[in-house]
Every structure is written in structure tokens, then in C-alpha cells.
Symmetry: C2
Subunit: 337 residues, 2 copies
């Protein structure tokens, strides 16, 4: 039997907890530590924090990454923030400790256009240590970019690419329902958009990845965020939305050339959405479309795609990688046997 | 500007011709030669053979690979046979000339289970020359394997995988309509199945790739081929099928564990199919499905996926590769600029 993959969970919020529970099921993985700055978590057992039935795991969570990364670690699962600037120090600390990193930081998924200098810095740091890092997730990381590129493999020519993700937020966590403005007045919603509070991160990153992957030359990436207004009362386990109130977000990102759409990415995430689905459409030779009825489940799938990326990132050439060049697939239960 | 990718087309049947025409559109590709044993083709211009509007290309087709491979060649596009045993010498000749190979040989798509010794021989030959080869196509190569594995990237657990491809052969080439038995009596069909003439190759290879990719342990791969019987008259541009005659094939491959289906691949390819589509289904956590309405177009897509594999195979580590580990995507018009 080969050695197990030694993994650290960096960030133990809802997504990090979900990842940690899934890691625990992989017999080829050994969870060797957790990191979280929250004083309510630091010092406790990771299994207890994530509500594992088999807790305690004997895996301490520390407030400081360096104490955890002193031990031999192969991969860090990083789930702390959407902002690349905010997590640079965390990522660099993991890389300089010689660890590969799989992160759910949305801006890391394809950072070259918005953050060229940070991208170069991460790439250099990873190469210096001979390790690789990648930003992944469902969106960005799958529905609006990887799936588009996978479908394009059977196209002879692509002139236009579109992805539409419709999510029924009724079945999601309360924090997510609040994050999309469910139950607000349209005015409250617009104020929170203006303040940068209501926003799904990552659509421009998906547009950039698809543009580069398809060779579609675009001169601008723009984004709009509008409320979805409830037409009838919507009840969720957590809250109730009255007609005229906000049910959620309707966000559109466009990649354009001289004002013309080349790439169109649309996210509708609201309570009471009737026909949730992920759809990809390519126009060219031939026209192609692809649908995931019901849509990729946000919470389950985010943990899955992050954990499933572990074999790929360990096998990847050193440097900053993206899901554009990583072959994502399943992480089988016993890949090391 | 970097050097163009120098490509040879090996095999100039319908698929090879379609690939050659698509290669001609890629500005980063230079077609440097063709190979075909057919005396009606050898010695002629490749552009003329493939019916290119801009023929002649000044690209000679030779009956002998070695005369073409004497020149510097980066990639050989290989489209001669479904049988790996039959093409071993051709593949080894390309590899020993230092060329990467993209082949539509169905049995090459995932050859480890049926041909472990040939697989090892190809892998060693490729590594010795520092080049890579891959077998690709729509099926095997995409619908029943790569798409299944891509979808599995968002699954936490997979217990069962299924792919169904329904093709309306009415719109396909006459040779394909004949190949699936359209217009035969059921007895003629069964005789041709027994003789190994009627058979879509590659389903067991897809089953094997998916089993390994998902970590599903299977102890047997079995396959059945039945006729689809026309219930009403079907007319195509080439032939007419009367009620009671064969409209096409219904082929099923199963990967089983102790008699229980773990992987189920179904191909229905017949004239007059009403609802053509490619569908993938995963059962596990969560259940997932994915549909390509209308289905991936066989002829257009086969040429596309082969040509689109060129950047991936050039970037791949030396050895025998499969679409399981290659990140397939689009080959943009100007990847070298």
C-alpha cells in the first residue's frame, strides 16, 4: 500500500466543513490538520466542528497556518474568501510550505485578466517549490467554463458561447438565501448591490476562461446584477418572500467584441425558481447544446469538485493551473491501491 | 510567430478526408503529407482527394508511410481501422519516426483491458521517442466515457453510470446506413452480426474507461447487438426501409459485478430515430444527468474532436494517453499567435 495523501483543511465554514466530511470518506486521504482564524473554532477538533458522526477525529484546528504546515502536507484545501487579493498571503504561505493547493476562491479560477500580477506571483511561487495550485468550484469552475470547453471539443468552429444557470435557492442554506437578497425590498437589494454585498463572484473569470479556450477575441467583459421580483408568495424552510419583494439575483456577464456579444453567462438564483437547470449553448459548426436538468447542486457539488481535483493537482505540472487545463473527473475511493 | 504544427493525414477515407479539410482551416497547422494504401489515392494531391474547394494543396499522398515520415512531422492523424491489432505496425512506425499520434482507432481509446500487451508496447515505444499517442472520437472518446467522467467531477459518490446514445442514421452517409444493416431482413442482420460485420466498436472500451475512472469494480464486460425493426416505412436520401425490415442497430454493453449492472452503455443507431440525443446518468450522491439534445453529430464531431486533440497530445507527457487523462477542449484558430 502506498502512502496516504496528507491533506489540510484551510477555512472551516460551511463549504470547508462539507469538504472535510467528504475527505474523511476517501480512504486514500489522511486529514492532518485544520486552519481557521475564528476563535470559536481554533483549538477544537475538526471532526467536531464539521459535525461528523465519528468525531472526534483527533485532528486539531489551529488559528495559525504555519503551525499546521510545519508537518508534511501534500494538499491544502483552501476555502476562506472569494477575493484573490484577500487570500494571497494564505496561498503563498501554503505554497512556500511545499503544498499543492485546491482553493474555492472564485477569483483564483482564472485570474489572469483581472489580476495578472498576482497570477504571475502565484505561478512563480508554486514553480519554485515544485507544486501546483488551482481555483475550482461549480461556478466558476464547472458549469460556465469547464462544461463549455468540454462541449467545444466536438465543435469544428465556435462563434458564440452561452451558459445559463438557474438555481432554486429555496432548498439552499439560509445564509445563501440571505446572500441573494431573498425577502428584501428592491431598494434594499440595489443598495446592497451598490455596496458590493450582493454579488455572485466568478462570472467574469468564466467569461475570460471561455474566451481564451475558444480563441474568441473580446475587448470587454461587463456584468449586471438585477433583482428577481417575486410574483407570488414563496415560502422556504427559513423565510417567506411576499409578491413584490426580492426573490433573488439575476446576474449576467458578457464578453463582447466591438459591442457584440461573443460570450453570454447568465445566473438566476432565487427562491421559487420553477425550472432549475444548467444549460450550455455553442453556436458555430455545428450548433450544440447541453443541459443538466435540475442543475448541478451547489453545496454538494462544490465539495465534490474540490475533493475530486486532488489527484489532478498532485499530477499537474508545477505552477498556477486552472480547470481549463486540468482533466477533472472523479476521485475514486481507492486510487492508491 | 512560432512554427506551425506539421501534420500528416494517415488514412484518407471519409473521416480522414473530413479531418484533412478541418486541418486546412487551422492557421497554426501545416499539412505536410498524406498516407493511403489505396492505389486510387496514392500519388494524388490530398486536397483533390478530400474534395477541397482550394485544391490542389501541393500535398502528396503516398502509399508508404515511411516516405512521408522522413520529413519533420509533429503529429500524425491516423484513421485507418477500428482494430488495434490491425494498426499496430502503422502506429509503431509513426512513433518511431518521433511523431505524436491522434488516432480514431476505437480499440486504442482505452486498450488496457482487451490488449494489455499491445498497450504496454505502444506506451514503451512512445516513451522511448518522447512522444504521446491517443485514441479519440465521439464514441468511444466522448459521449460514453469523457462526458461521464466530466459529469462525475461534481459527484461525491458514484454507484452506477449509464450513457445512452440515440442516433438518427437517416441523415448520415450511405456507407454508415449500410453498416448498421438498414434495409436488411432480420436474418441477414443476424448473419452479419455473427460474422462480425455489423458492430459498432468501442463500447467495451468506454465501459472499461468509466469503470477505472469511477473506481467501480467490475468483473465482466458483456455486449449484445440486436436489430431495430422498422414499424413504418422509412425513406432516406439513399435507401428505403419497409416495415419489418431492419432500421439499424441496438447495441448494449454492460460492466457488471457479480451479475449486477454497474455501468450500462446503450447505442441505438437507426434510420428514422425520432428523438436523437446523448444522455449520461450517474446514480450516487447526488444523482446527476446530462443531455445533449439532438446528439453529438457523428461525422462533424469525429473530425472536430480529433483535430481539437492536437494541442493536448503535443502538451501531454510521453506515452500512451487516453481521453481519460487528456483535457479535451477546442483547438482555437490561432493558438500559436
Amino acid at each position: 500500500m502506498r502512502k496516504k495523501i496528507r491533506v489540510v483543511q484551510f477555512g472551516v465554514g460551511p463549504i470547508g466543513a462539507s469538504i472535510a466530511r467528504l475527505l474523511r470518506e476517501k480512504e486514500s486521504v489522511e486529514i492532518v490538520g485544520g486552519v481557521d482564524r475564528d476563535p470559536a473554532k481554533a483549538g477544537r477538533d475538526l471532526g467536531e466542528i464539521v459535525g461528523a458522526p465519528d468525531a472526534p477525529w483527533g485532528v486539531p484546528v489551529s488559528a495559525h497556518a504555519h503551525t499546521v504546515l510545519e508537518k508534511p502536507v501534500d494538499v491544502v484545501m483552501h476555502t476562506t474568501s472569494s477575493s484573490l487579493a484577500a487570500v494571497m498571503d494564505e496561498l503563498l504561505e501554503c505554497l512556500s510550505a511545499g503544498c499543492c493547493v485546491v482553493s474555492t476562491c472564485e477569483e483564483l479560477s482564472y485570474p489572469y485578466r483581472k489580476h495578472p500580477e498576482l497570477s504571475a506571483k502565484l505561478d512563480a511561487a508554486a514553480k519554485e517549490e515544485g507544486v501546483a495550485l488551482v481555483g475550482t468550484g461549480v461556478n466558476p469552475g464547472f458549469v460556465m467554463d469547464k462544461l463549455v470547453l468540454v462541449l467545444s471539443a466536438v465543435a469544428q468552429r465556435v462563434d458564440f458561447a452561452k451558459a445559463v444557470r438557474i438555481v432554486d435557492a429555496s432548498k439552499r442554506r439560509l445564509p445563501l438565501q440571505k446572500k441573494i437578497g431573498a425577502g428584501m425590498t428592491p431598494e434594499e437589494f440595489r443598495a446592497q448591490v451598490a455596496a458590493g454585498i450582493i454579488k455572485h463572484h466568478g462570472l467574469p473569470e468564466s467569461v475570460a476562461m471561455v474566451a481564451d479556450g475558444l480563441g474568441l477575441v473580446i475587448d470587454d467583459i461587463s456584468e449586471t446584477i438585477e433583482p428577481v421580483i417575486a410574483k407570488e408568495t414563496v415560502k422556504t424552510p427559513f423565510l417567506e418572500v411576499a409578491p413584490g419583494q426580492v426573490a433573488g439575483v439575476h446576474q449576467i456577464a458578457r464578453g463582447t467584441s466591438k459591442g457584440q456579444d461573443k460570450i453570454f453567462m447568465e445566473l438566476q438564483m432565487y427562491v421559487g425558481a420553477k425550472h432549475p437547470a444548467d444549460t450550455v449553448e455553442l453556436r458555430g459548426e455545428p450548433n450544440l447544446s447541453l443541459t443538466i436538468p435540475g442543475g448541478t447542486h451547489g453545496d454538494i457539488a462544490t465539495a465534490a469538485i474540490a475533493v475530486n481535483a486532488i489527484p489532478s493537482i498532485l499530477a499537474a505540472p508545477a505552477g498556477l493551473r486552472t480547470v481549463r487545463d486540468l482533466p477533472l473527473a472523479f476521485f475514486p475511493p481507492h486510487p492508491l491501491s
